[in-house]
């Protein structure tokens, strides 16, 4: 029985090759998008799920509340560590660690040097009590007890001591920064499962107890927070989270800063469960540079996957039901020969499953292509191998069965309802089948495609707007070079500046801090008194010498620049001026801010400009003359871009002479500005792909429907042709039906996408207009694509000889 089912299935699939191909490809595209995005989500959701007692492990984090905003930090004040170690109850282990970047490490035996060793932390033995490593040498019980000890991971040990067994590595000496001499006392295997804990060198905290240079490791100030100081705890076996939180609250209360609290600044210590470590945007994982998953991004991706999958399935259902009427005769015969409805439905489901399976196999191939497309989103270490994990396989099988049911059950049911008499008498069984459901589904598909198109265009428009909007200062042909962080004196840098000044292609120079717009922020709170009332203002500071404003084309509206860098004088921007209650720049000159009981006069007002991405509004800002954060900014002669590489060469040569040890790194301001929007660029890329795929799937679906309709109406077309209809008239007649669907989809898609894009644009302080022409353009383009797809098929049908089509009936 099942053998003949299988045979029938293969033969009927083969008989309508085009149809089956469209069907399978449509579904496999949807499936592959779902696979790829599915494993991306799975990947990020399965970090650090293997630790023993993982529900009892927490990170202590700091949340701050200021009048302006909330802040989140993964770093804690160092004394909190000691307090919890000494007095807490309900906690089994308190494990602090400090992320630390050493410049170099020397392996004593061969005097081999390694620069910038990565993944180095300073920890104590408690760390290994919470996180259970496999010990290849040494033991977790004695690890890091004493000063000047280091535990290495297996891979790090192999790097430093190639060819040695773990036991042989024990006892060797490493020297950090030429002065810190430590002994290897343990080797651990790295976690094999997905984990954010990728540390490879663990130095004992004791080593730094009396160190001046690394003083902060035993800092005693409750006020300062460094994000590299992180604290994990493991609660006792009752997991008394509430009790621990109460102790943290008490500590936060005892050690609060009364002065700041009066101004509305509050701080609390909270527990972050281990499982939220990987996905929490507020705190980040350990440092900011490593790959971070964002729940938002995953959510967006999930949405796109869902839609593409839905499109593929709809296609599948649509084409299957359309195709099914062709099977009516077979169904009729089977029924007269005694087949039950159930048997027919099972047979049909079986056929659908074969197609689904084929699509699944094909989609594995597509998925490997897609993985490359999504490369920007994909964390290192993710590959299709993840598909092999049992959870994923189970999900896949369930998905396939679900699709089979969705796509096969309805047509199966419809078919099995056919009255055999009607079928066999060649009465049209299709009379009742107006394909209403199919039309709804097609409209739905096109709504999705249309929304994707509109979103792509609008995101593109917004990015274009952001990149090209005047920031309020000059961004073209300006570059900057940061001074080396070590071994530089201001004098040396000034001398370097003078040399660069002599390069003919360089027009203007300035030594300053950051460029006017950057990702970094330095600010301070100041007070302003007027008529006995105190206003507290958080303002952003901009540092530079007397040429800075001129170089960046920032106009001074009134007043003068600060006299020199030994006196504190502010040039404020218009926003700040308005914030302290002035409308006229002339009047604000001479007013004073109070900072730490020192008065700072306002000597000038500069034009407003954007200090960071256009997501943000313009902040109140003050410019001070200060060259401490020495960065050399300079502009090129704008009209001779072809000579820039030459000029850069010259500058680099000079750099090598002044700072032979340091790498030369030149940044262009306009590139920096573009980088502000890398997230948006990625969204745009993703959307483009999603749009392309959505259009492709929808058009495949449309093509299928057109084929079906034209086949159904072959006789009608023949009769009309005999009666004298022209090809064009026939096209109009048949195309109208489909264009109506596409048009209707457009009407639905416009408000949906308008609403969605409004939400997306809310993140931006500066937004492009949701112009009507974008909607119109996307509507028209989809219409044209649809029309092309429809016409191909209709022309072919309309051109067939009517004698032929009438005879076949």
């Amino acid at each position: 029985m099942y053998k003949t089912y299988l045979k029938i299935a293969f033969r009927s699939i083969w008989k309508s090759k085009t149809f089956s191909l469209i069907n399978v490809i449509g579904l496999s595209i949807g499936l592959s998008a779902a696979f790829v995005i599915g494993i991306m989500i799975y990947y990020d959701l399965t970090f650090d799920t293997f630790h023993a007692d993982k529900d009892r492990i927490y990170r202590v984090v700091v949340d701050t509340q200021t009048p302006e905003q909330e802040g989140h930090s993964k770093g804690v004040p160092v004394p909190l560590i000691e307090s919890l170690q000494a007095y807490s109850t309900g906690i089994d282990h308190v494990a602090p660690f400090f992320l630390f970047g050493f410049d170099k490490v020397t392996v004593e035996s061969g005097l081999k040097e390694f620069d910038w060793p990565e993944d180095v932390v300073i920890a104590d033995q408690e760390y290994f009590q919470i996180f259970k490593y496999q010990w290849l040498a040494g033991s977790s019980n004695t690890a890091l007890e004493n000063p000047y000890e280091v535990i290495l991971s297996k891979s790090r040990a192999e790097k430093y001591f190639p060819g040695k067994l773990p036991e042989e590595v024990i006892g060797n000496t490493l020297i950090y920064e030429d002065s810190l001499v430590v002994k290897v006392t343990g080797i651990v295997a790295e976690f094999e499962e997905r984990s954010d804990f990728t540390f490879k060198e663990f130095l004992s905290r004791e080593s730094f107890r009396n160190s001046e240079k690394y003083g902060y490791i035993y800092d005693t100030s409750w006020g300062s927070i460094n994000s590299s100081t992180q604290l994990f705890i493991k609660t006792d076996k009752f997991n008394s989270k509430v009790a621990v939180q109460a102790q943290l609250d008490a500590l936060a209360e005892v050690h609060k800063n009364e002065e700041m609290a009066a101004l509305g600044y509050f701080r609390s210590f909270n527990l972050q469960p281990l499982k939220s470590l990987h996905l929490n945007d507020n705190y980040g994982v350990f440092d900011n540079s490593s790959y971070r998953a964002s729940a938002d991004v995953l959510f967006g991706l999930g949405f796109i996957a869902l839609f593409l999958l839905l499109l593929g399935c709809i296609n599948f259902i649509n084409l299957n039901t359309a195709q099914s009427t062709k099977r009516a005769k077979e169904i009729g015969i089977r029924k007269t020969l005694g087949s039950s409805k159930k048997q027919l439905v099972i047979q049909y489901l079986g056929e659908t499953f074969i197609l689904t399976l084929a699509a699944a196999i094909l989609s594995l191939f597509f998925a490997s292509l897609l993985l490359r497309v999504f490369a920007d989103f994909i964390p290192p270490g993710l590959s299709l191998d993840l598909l092999k994990s049992p959870m994923v396989i189970l999900a896949l099988v369930l998905l396939l069965i679900l699709i089979t049911f969705l796509a096969g059950f309805y047509p199966g049911l419809v078919l099995s309802q056919f009255k055999p008499v009607a079928v066999l008498k060649n009465q049209s069984v299709l009379d009742g089948d107006k394909g209403r459901l199919r039309k709804y589904l097609t409209v739905f598909q096109f709504v999705i495609a249309q929304v994707f198109i509109i979103a792509t265009l609008l995101v593109g428009k917004q990015i274009n707007y952001l990149v090209n909007k005047d920031m309020g200062f000059k961004t073209e042909s300006i570059a900057y070079i940061r001074a080396p962080s070590v071994n530089t004196s201001l004098e040396k840098y000034e001398a370097f500046k003078e040399v660069i000044k002599a390069v003919p292609e360089v027009k203007k120079l300035s030594i300053a801090g950051d460029p006017p717009a950057s990702e970094s922020y330095s600010g301070r709170g100041v007070s302003y008194f007027s008529e006995g009332k105190e206003t507290h203002v958080q303002l952003q500071l901009l540092y530079g010498d007397e040429n800075y404003l001129d170089l960046y084309g920032i106009a001074l509206l009134t007043g003068r620049l600060p006299l020199n860098d030994s006196i504190s004088e502010y040039v404020i921007n218009e926003t700040l001026m308005r914030q302290i209650g002035f409308q006229n720049p002339e009047e604000v000159i001479g007013q004073q801010f109070k900072v730490n009981n020192k008065n700072i006069p306002i000597v000038g007002v500069m034009e407003d400009f954007n200090q960071s991405s256009l997501r943000e509004k313009i902040d109140p800002m003050a410019f001070i003359q200060d060259t401490q954060n020495s960065t050399l900014h300079f502009s090129f002669q704008a009209n001779d871009t072809e000579n820039w590489p030459l000029a850069i060469d010259k500058i680099q040569t000079q750099w090598k002479e002044f700072f032979p040890e340091e790498t030369f790194n030149i940044n262009f301001v306009d590139e920096d500005v573009r980088k502000f929007y890398s997230q948006e660029q990625r969204t745009a890329t993703l959307l483009k792909w999603a749009t392309g795929l959505a259009i492709l799937i929808s058009c495949l679906g449309l093509l299928g429907l057109v084929i079906h309709t034209t086949e159904r109406r072959t006789k009608e077309i023949g009769i009309r042709k005999v009666l004298g209809a022209s090809i064009l008239q026939l096209n109009l007649l048949l195309g109208k039906e489909f264009m109506l669907l596409v048009g209707f989809a457009f009407v639905v898609a416009v408000p949906v996408s308008w609403w969605g894009m409004n939400i997306w644009l809310q993140d931006f302080a500066y937004k492009t207009a949701l112009s009507w022409w974008v909607f119109l353009l996307s509507g028209v383009s989809l219409m044209i694509i649809a029309l092309a797809v429809i016409s191909i098929r209709i022309f072919a049908t309309a051109n067939t000889n009517p004698v032929k089509s009438l005879r076949t009936e």
Partner: protein
């Protein structure tokens, strides 16, 4: 008594009026009979045949098939009943295009849950009897009309039915092929199979031992 129809009515509603397809049909068919139903187009021949074949329902009256009251049976029982006892032959053959001759013949047996070896034997018998062994792997489209109808008859016979219902079995065939099929029916009838056929042709009707004339859904008294 194989078939007993009494006071069978069948109608459809059209514009508020009842249009009768079958009107007061009374018919008794003994086992071993060969009956021809004749009448002009639209007289209800095929409808009557479908009612007898249980493919179609009627609105009023009683129908006993092998002393089972068909009008009272549930769909499942009815389906089992005709699966066991009735074979159909159609004007347009109605073979499944995707299956070979062999597979087409095998299909009714699959629905009757015959085991593999039995199926093989029965199909081989049939192929042998109809001289189609050489054609068993061909698809219907590769056969002539007469050959396709032979397969159709063979398929109807393979389940060893008591009754064969044939709806214009020769309608799509040329006269020579038609004669062959009718001769085959005659032969089958001699072997004890009851046959009811619908036909337009007096000549074909003459093969049977009783002719029923229908006009506007009514049996004409002779």
């Amino acid at each position: 008594m194989l078939i007993q129809l009494s006071n069978i009515f069948k109608w459809v509603q059209q514009g508020g009026r009842r249009v009768f397809l079958l009107k007061d049909i009374n018919l008794e068919v003994e086992e071993g009979a060969f009956i021809s139903i004749m009448g002009p187009s639209g007289s209800g021949k095929s409808t009557l045949l479908n009612v007898i074949g249980m493919l179609d329902v009627f609105d009023e009256g009683k129908y006993n098939f092998m002393d089972e009251p068909v009008h009272q049976l549930k769909e499942k029982h009815r389906s089992a009943l005709y699966k066991e006892s009735i074979g159909f032959v159609f004007q347009a053959y109605h073979l499944i295009d995707e299956l070979t001759v062999y597979e087409n013949l095998e299909m009714p047996l699959l629905y009757k849950k015959f085991v593999g070896s039995e199926r093989k034997a029965l199909v081989a018998d049939m192929l042998d009897r109809f001289n189609m062994v050489g054609k068993k792997d061909l698809f219907p489209s590769q056969l002539s009309g007469g050959q396709q109808q032979l397969v159709g008859v063979a398929r109807a016979l393979i389940g060893k039915p008591k009754l064969i219902l044939a709806d214009e079995p020769t309608g799509n065939l040329n006269s020579k092929q038609g004669e062959e099929i009718m001769a085959l029916f005659k032969q089958l009838n001699k072997e004890g199979v009851t046959i009811i056929q619908v036909t337009h042709s007096e000549k074909n009707a003459a093969y049977g031992n009783k002719v029923i004339h229908l006009l506007d859904g009514r049996m004409e008294k002779k």
